[in-house]
Symmetry: D2
Subunit: 352 residues, 4 copies
C-alpha cells in the first residue's frame, strides 16, 4: 500500500470524482453511528459519492439505526458488530462516539474491512498505537475533512510546491457557532475534538516539520458557570516546529456569526490565506452598508469536503492503496492535543 496525494485541486468543484470510478463496482459501505454527524455522513454516502454505496447503518442504540436506515432505504443492522461482520459490507465508516472508535477499528480490522474513522481516532496514544497495529493490513482513513475543502487543498498545494517559501508563521482557527448543551461537553473537548482539526491542518501545511514544543491556555468564557465541571470553551495554543516555524491554533464554541474555519501560512516567500464564511457570492447593499450572509454550520461549510473525503476513501479501497489521511496523522495530531492539555494543566510550555 502506498500513499497517494489527495485527489483534490484548487478548483471550485469540490466533490472529487476519481477518473474511472464509475466503471468500478462502488465500495459497499456500512456506517456505524446514527447521531448528528453520522446522519450527515449517511446522507452524503447515499447520495453524493459516486464510488460508494451505502448498504446499511448500525448504532449502539438499535432504534436510532432503524430510523436513519428507514429514511435512506438501506439496511438497519442490529448492532455495530453485526454490521462489521456482514458479508455485504466491504468497508466501515465509524461515526460512533469517540470512546468507541478504537474498539470498533480493532473489530473491523479483524474482520478484514477497510476503515474510515471519524476524528479523534482514539482517546490516548496507547489506543492509537493499538488501532494502528490492528489496522496494519487494511486501509484506514481518518476524518480530517478540511484537507478535502477546495481552499485548504489549494493552500496545501501552494505550500507544498514552495509557493510561500519556508513556513515561518502559521494560524488555524475554528469557531463553532454555538454551545448548545455545555453540561454535556466532556473536559478537554476543545483540544481533542475541535483543535485536533487545526493541529492536523497546521502539520499538513508545514510539510515535513514536527512539533517540538507547545504552549496552551484555555478558559470558560462562553459558559463560565460550567468551568468547575471542566468545560473549556475558548483556547489558544502556540506550536513550535523543528523548522523554527511557530503556529497558532485557536478555538471558541460561541461564534455568533456562524461557522468560521480559516488558516494562514506566512513564509519566507509569501503567504496564503484560506477560509471564507460567505454562504454564497451574494452581496446585499442597503442603508446599513453592504452585507454578506455567513454559513451556519460545519455540514454546510464542508459539504463538498465531506463528499471528497469519502470519494478518496472509496478510491483508495478500490485501488488497494493507503488513503491520503492516515492513522499516523491522527496519532500525530492527538499527540499535540495531549501536550496542549498538559500545558494548560501545568501552565508551562511542554516539549514533545
Amino acid at each position: 500500500m502506498t500513499a497517494a496525494p489527495p485527489p483534490v485541486g484548487g478548483s471550485r468543484p469540490r466533490g472529487i470524482q476519481s477518473g474511472g470510478s464509475a466503471l468500478r463496482e462502488p465500495v459497499r459501505i456500512g456506517l456505524i453511528g446514527a447521531g448528528r454527524i453520522g446522519s450527515a455522513h449517511a446522507g452524503t454516502l447515499a447520495r453524493r459519492v459516486p464510488g460508494a454505496e451505502l448498504v446499511g447503518v448500525a448504532d449502539a442504540v438499535p432504534a436510532a439505526a432503524s430510523r436513519l436506515a428507514g429514511q435512506l432505504g438501506v439496511t438497519a443492522f442490529g448492532s455495530p458488530d453485526e454490521l462489521i461482520t456482514a458479508d455485504e459490507v466491504e468497508a466501515v465508516v465509524i461515526a460512533a462516539s469517540s470512546e468507541a472508535h478504537c474498539a470498533l477499528i480493532v473489530a473491523a480490522a479483524a474482520a478484514g474491512k477497510a476503515i474510515f474513522c471519524e476524528k479523534p481516532m482514539s482517546q490516548t496514544l496507547a489506543e492509537a498505537d493499538r488501532a494502528l497495529a490492528a489496522a496494519a493490513d487494511v486501509p484506514l482513513q481518518v476524518g480530517f475533512n478540511r484537507r478535502f475543502d477546495a481552499g485548504f487543498a489549494a493552500a496545501h498545494e501552494v505550500v507544498a510546491s514552495g509557493g510561500v517559501g519556508t513556513p515561518q508563521l502559521l494560524r488555524s482557527l475554528t469557531r463553532d457557532p454555538g454551545l448548545a448543551n455545555p453540561g454535556a461537553v466532556p473536559p478537554w473537548t476543545i483540544f481533542t475534538q475541535t483543535l485536533i482539526h487545526d493541529f492536523d491542518t497546521l502539520l499538513w501545511l508545514n510539510p515535513g516539520a514536527s512539533v517540538v514544543e507547545v504552549y496552551a491556555t484555555a478558559d470558560a468564557l462562553v459558559a463560565p458557570e460550567y468551568k468547575p465541571a471542566g468545560l473549556l470553551d475558548t483556547a489558544v495554543t502556540v506550536l513550535t516546529f523543528d523548522n523554527g516555524a511557530r503556529a497558532i491554533a485557536e478555538a471558541s464554541f460561541s461564534a455568533t456569526y456562524g461557522y468560521d474555519v480559516r488558516a494562514e501560512v506566512f513564509g519566507s516567500a509569501g503567504m496564503v490565506t484560506v477560509g471564507d464564511q460567505a454562504s454564497s457570492s451574494l452581496t446585499h447593499y442597503g442603508p446599513d452598508g453592504r452585507r454578506v450572509t455567513t454559513v451556519r454550520g460545519d455540514v454546510e461549510l464542508f459539504r463538498d469536503a465531506y463528499a471528497g473525503e469519502f470519494a478518496e476513501f472509496a478510491d483508495a479501497v478500490r485501488a488497494g492503496r493507503e488513503p491520503a489521511v492516515t492513522g499516523r496523522d491522527a496519532r500525530r495530531a492527538l499527540g499535540v492535543a495531549l501536550a496542549c492539555i498538559e500545558s494548560v494543566t501545568t501552565n508551562r510550555p511542554v516539549p514533545l
Copy 2:
C-alpha cells in the same frame, strides 16, 4: 400541474436534495447528445443527482453515444428516436444541437416522456410555440442553469421578497474564456446561445415585469477576420421594462481571465450583486501583491447549478408538477434575443 418555487436557497450547499426523494424511485433518464455539454450532463446525471438515474444515451452520431455510454456503464441507444421510445426511459434530457431541439421535444412529448431541454429551446418563436403546444401535458424544463447557482438563487430571493425595493437598473453579463473555433460559430450565436442566459436572468430578477423595448449593438472584436462570415463576438444590449427598469446585458467570447458570469440589481431600496470568479477561498500573497485564481469554464463554475437543475427536474417529474423553469420562460428569453438581433440589423431600438 402547478409551478413550485425553485427548491434552492442562498446557502453554500449548492446541490439540491428534495426532502424524501431518496425513498422515491429515481427518475430513469435518457440523455440525447454526446457532445461537450451532453457529456458533462451525463456525468452529472450519473453521479450527482440523487433523484435521477441515467439509463442510457443517444446521439445523431451513434459512435459518439457508444463512447460516452461505455465510459459511464449505461446503455447506448442506436438513435435519439430509439431512446425516446424505450420503455425504460421515463424522461429525456435533450442536449443535442440547437436545431434539433424542437423536433426532439415534439417526439418526446408524443411518447409521453418528461422533458428537460438545453437552451435555447427553439430557434424561432414559431418553433417555441410548437414545442409548448406539444409538451402541454408533460413536464418541460429548460436549461437556464444560473437560476440554480446558490448566489443567483439568493439574489432572486432577496429581490422577490422586496429586499432591493423596485428594480431600476439591472446588469447581467457573460464572458466566456475563449473562442476556440470562430469559423464554426453560427451567426447571432452571441444572442441566441449566450445572452439568452442573461435575458432569462434579467427577466427572473425583475419579477413580474416585461420587456417593452430593446437596443443592441454588437461587433467582431475578438476575431474580426470572421466578421464577414457573420461572427459577432462582443455585444451590449439595453432592455427597457414596463416597470421603468433598464437592464444591461453584455457578452464577450474572449475573457483571458476565465469564465465570468455576474449580475446586479439596483432598486429603490438597495442593491444585490452576484457572481464570483474565485476558484476557491485561497488568496496567495507575494511580491506582486495578492492573487486569487479564477475559474476557467462553465462546467467548473456551475457544477452545483447543473446538479441543481436536474434535481429540480427529477423532483418535478416525481411530484407531477411544473418545473421551476418552463418552456414559457424559454420563449420569453428568445423573444428578447430575436428583438436584439433586429436592433443590431436596423441600428434602432426595437419595441416588443
Copy 3:
C-alpha cells in the same frame, strides 16, 4: 505649454505632492462659489494642498462669500469680478453655478489668471469653444476629479500601458445617495452634471479612441411625479468607439447604500475594475452575517482626489505647463452628453 501625465500613481496615498513644490511659492488662489462644492473646495484648498494658498472667496451672493471667508480666515471679495481682478489672486477656482462658468472663464482669462473650472465647463459646445479660445494662453483645468482617485489613476495606468490589451467593453457608473430636492433639478442634469464624469472616465480609459455613436435611455423612477417638469433621475447610455469598443455609462440619483462610483475596462488581454464603497477596512461580523459600512457622499469618497486635482493644478501653474485635464477634455465629454440627450429625445442612436 505641454501636457504632462497626471502625477498620481496606484498608491494608497491619494494626496499628490509634487517633488519640490514646498520650496516654490504656493499658488495664490481665489475661489468663486460658496455653495456646497465651493465650500468643500475652499476647505481643501485651505488645508490640504501644499502648493496652493487660498487667499479669498467670492460669490454672486456676497453674504455667502463673507460667511465662508470668515470660517477660513481669508478675504471675502465683494464680487467674482473683484476677485478675478485682484492683484493678490494668481489663479481662479470656479465653483459657481454652471451657467456662469463660461463667462467667468472668459473674464479670468482676460485678467491673465490661471483657471480651474468645475465641471461642466460649459452648457453648450459654442460656449465651450468660446471658453477654449479665451483661455488659449492661460492654464485651464476642468474638475474631472475621478482621474485623481488612486484606484481610477491606477486603472488608467494599467490600461494605458497595455495591461488589458485593446479595450472592448467598458463601464462607468455613478449612483448618488439621494435626491434631496427633485423640483430644483434642471432638465438633463443627469447627463450634463452627473454622467459627464462617466463620459470623461470612459474616454480616458479608452486612450486614443473617439466616440462615434451613442444610445441613451432615461426615466424618472425615483421621483416620477417630477417627470412632467423634466426630471430624469435614472439613465443608461451605450457609447460606441471608433476602435470598436462599447462602453456603458449609467447613473441614478437614489442609492440607499451610499455614494457608488465604479468603472470596469475589459479588453483583449484582461480586465480592470475600480471603485469601492467601503468607508474603511473594517468588517463587522454578527448574527446577520458580515457587514462593511459604505461611504455616504462624493466629498467623503473623493476627499483625496479633490486634493489631488488641486495639487496638479498648482503644479501645472508653477511649472507653466498644461494641466492633465484640459478644456478640450471638457468639450469632448460635453459632446457625448449632448448626443445622449438627443438620443433620449429621438429614441434613436445618435452618431457623433
Copy 4:
C-alpha cells in the same frame, strides 16, 4: 487636563480636521530627528496638518537637520537643546533614536513645551516613570499611530460601544516588508519597537482590561546568521487579560508582499476585523487570475494616520487637554513588551 476621545471616525476621510482649528493659531512645532521616520513626520507636519506649523528641525547630527530643513524651507536648529529652548517653538515632536527619548522628554517638559514622542517612549519602566513625572504638567502624546487609522479607529468604536460583546479572542500582527540591515538591529527590537504597537492596539481594543500574564516565543528565521548577535526577527506572543480574553500578537520582519498590519477582535456578540494591504481599489484580471497590488511600507499604509495623530496633538495642545494617547499608554505597552522578553528568556509564561 482631561482625556478626549480621538477625533477620528470610521470614515474614509482619514485626515482629521478639528472643527474650528483653521481660525486658531496653528501650533508651532519643532521636530527632533531627521532620520527616516523624522523626515516623513516633517513632511506630514509641513503639508498635511492644518492645525500645525513646522517651524524647524534639529538632529544630533546638525548636517542631517540642515538638509531636511533646507528641503522644507524651515529653520535648522544647531542642536535638539537649541530647538527645545527656542521661543518660537511651542511644541516638540521627538523622532530621535529611542535611547534619547526619555532625556528629550525631560528637557522639553522642563522648558514647558508640549511633547509628542515617537514610540517607544522609553527603554525601561524606570525611564517611563521619569518621563511621566517630568511631563506631568504638559501635554504628552505617544506615537501609537494605528489608533488614527480609519479602520482601526472604527474597530475601537465598535468594540467600545459593545458591538462585539465582551472580547474573548484578539489578534494583532505586524509584518514588515524587509530587514534591510540585520546587523544593525538591536536585540529585542521586535518586542520594543515593533510589537509594542500591537500591544497598544490589543490593550486599546479590550477596553478596561489589563494583561495578567504573557507567553512569548521568538526566533531568527529570516536572518538566522544574526541570531548569535541577538537578532530575533519572528515572534509570537499570547497575552491573558483579567477579563479572561486571550490575545495573540505576532510579528515578522520579512513580508515579501508588503507591509501588513491587521487586527481582529472576537467577542461574545460578534467580531471585527481590520487592516487591508490593498494599495487602491483596483483589481486586475488576467490569465493568472485576479490581482490586487499591496502597499509597501508604513508611511504609505499609515499616511493619513500619521496626519491624524498630529492633528490630535495640535488640537489637544490648543484645547489645553490631555491627548488621546498618553504616556501612561506607552508605559503600559512597554510593560507587556518587557514581560515578553522575560518569557522568551525563561521559556515560561510571565505574570504581570
